[in-house]
């Protein structure tokens, strides 16, 4: 049993890894297509039918570009920066439940790499370590624009982590569990968490945009002010790692929003469809990916709709709007839970 379990886990880890990379690869393509639709253009349409092979062409281009390390850069840290960025964004997929259980023979396989009972803390830990990739890379470039980009990224991520953590605490208070598997199971029995935590969801969404450095909060890489921001000096696949990690982060945070607030792999009336067991699990996984793709599309939609914030506006929103709102949300959640448990009687 133990060896079957380990082999299955290895296969699942490889599958999650591959799916993450493929989705991120095609997100780059989707971003250009969505941008094209929103701006009334064609977008990339040369490589393959409808431009479907464009991401591979981009990948080959990235790999074959000259690998250049600036003379005054700190070589070890210059290589370490993109590596940390890539490592941390791939680590988060381990705790996300991708679907129900699969039963093959006597074995029950969970479609989740590990259901640790501190899942949300693990997520917050990985997110808070993720900032080092950008900071180290930006500092090691020995370039003022890169340094400014890195400083912006780190202060932005620290500021928004607080509001994100507070929004998550309200969710944890409500569900009474830090395990993502348990949070999803509870949404199967009751309603999706968005119904109970609309304000918390909004705060989490805004913070997710800021944490992934996506527009309208993409101040660490503003072309108009900072050339390329923290990755100005990077070329070839090191730049590729940074750009790619942004898309992976987008995929993972979409998966998280779906898991925490939109029922994860559950969908309404799933038990009255007449399918059960493995078939239901597969449908659930498909539905889950549908939710994820919707949020990835939402990221792109927002990018081409809302203009970039000014830096002081960003900080003001983070500290003076989102954190008080998150505390208010926490307070209201606490009072409601108190009423439900008869604390005020």
């Amino acid at each position: 049993m133990l060896s079957t379990e380990i082999i299955y886990k290895i296969i699942l880890i490889l599958a999650v890894f591959t799916v993450t990379l493929v989705v991120a690869l095609y997100s780059t393509f989707a971003e250009r297509k969505v941008a094209a639709v929103l701006q009334d253009r064609y977008g990339p349409n040369r490589a393959g039918p409808l431009g479907m092979f464009q991401p591979f062409a981009d990948g080959v281009k990235m790999f074959t570009k000259e690998e250049f390390i600036p003379g005054n850069a700190d070589k070890q840290l210059f290589i370490l920066g993109p590596s940390i960025a890539m490592l941390t964004c791939l680590m988060t997929g381990a705790v996300i439940p991708w679907g129900g259980d699969l039963t093959i023979g006597d074995y029950i396989f969970k479609l989740q790499v590990t259901d640790i009972n501190i899942g949300i803390l693990y997520l917050l830990g990985v997110v808070s370590v993720g900032v080092y990739g950008i900071m180290i890379g930006g500092w090691a470039s020995n370039n003022k624009y890169s340094l400014l980009g890195a400083l912006r990224a780190s202060s932005q991520m620290i500021s928004y982590e607080i509001a994100m953590g507070l929004a998550l605490i309200a969710l944890v208070m409500m569900t009474g569990s830090l395990s993502l598997g348990e949070i999803v199971r509870q949404q199967d029995e009751g309603l999706a968490n968005i119904v109970y935590q609309p304000l918390g969801f909004l705060i989490f969404l805004v913070c997710a945009f800021a944490e992934t450095n996506r527009a309208p909060f993409d101040l660490p890489e503003t072309e108009s002010e900072l050339v390329g921001g923290y990755h100005t000096e990077f070329s070839s696949m090191k730049l590729g790692f940074y750009l790619f990690s942004e898309y992976i982060n987008m995929f993972i945070s979409s998966a998280l929003i779906a898991t925490l607030y939109f029922g994860g792999y559950n969908f309404p009336f799933q038990h009255s469809l007449g399918i059960e067991g493995n078939a239901l699990s597969i449908v659930q996984t498909v539905v889950f990916f549908g939710k994820i793709f919707f949020f990835i599309f939402f990221y792109m939609w927002v990018r081409w709709t809302i203009p970039r914030f000014r830096y002081d506006q960003l900080m003001k929103l983070g500290w003076k709007t989102l954190i008080p709102l998150a505390i208010l949300n926490l307070f209201i959640t606490g009072i409601v839970i108190g009423f439900k448990n008869g604390f005020f009687n």
Binding site: N117, G125, S128, M135, W139, L151
Partner: protein, 166 residues
């Protein structure tokens, strides 16, 4: 068995990186080695089945405090070129002080009793449910008072950083 190997690996990493924190000339490298040391310590917490403590250790120390450290080092742009030259008297004084501190530590550690080493892995004392029940049950008042202390420290920091105080 694997726990023992992990213990030795984490201990070696922690001590080795802690030494590198002191011996690195570049402050950024010192800070980065300190982060690795924090990770190794967090690994020790996980081995003791104190999952909450381990996770919070990573989030607070490696994720928040050290980010601010590195932030300040980057802002001040400290590197070995701009480091002021230290005179020999300071170096001798530092060596003597360090030696005396080491002496005191050795003297104190010689007299300590090791006590019984109990098996921690199965009673689940570090699990988050138990910790929460203890913190918000038996130790409710001290816990709340410590939060007030944090609040006052925060207000003080905000007050000090204000430019126009009338």
């Amino acid at each position: 068995m694997i726990t023992q190997y992990l213990f030795y690996f984490l201990t070696f990493t922690a001590i080795f990186c802690a030494l590198l924190v002191v011996f690195s000339k570049n402050p950024i490298y010192s800070a980065l080695y300190l982060i690795v040391t924090f990770f190794a310590t967090a690994g020790h917490y996980f081995l003791l089945n104190a999952q909450f403590l381990g996770a919070v250790h990573v989030i607070v120390y490696a994720g928040a405090i050290m980010v601010l450290f590195i932030y300040v080092i980057m802002m001040l742009n400290l590197n070995k070129e701009v480091e002021p030259h230290k005179s020999n008297i300071i170096k001798i004084a530092a060596t003597v002080c360090g030696g005396i501190l080491g002496l005191v530590l050795i003297a104190a550690l010689r007299e300590t009793e090791l006590g019984e080493i109990t098996e921690y892995s199965n009673n689940g004392i570090g699990l988050i449910e138990k910790l929460g029940n203890v913190l918000f049950g038996a130790y409710m008042v001290p816990f709340e008072i410590s939060t007030v202390l944090f609040l006052s420290a925060m207000v003080g920091a905000v007050f000090l950083s204000k430019k126009n105080i009338h």
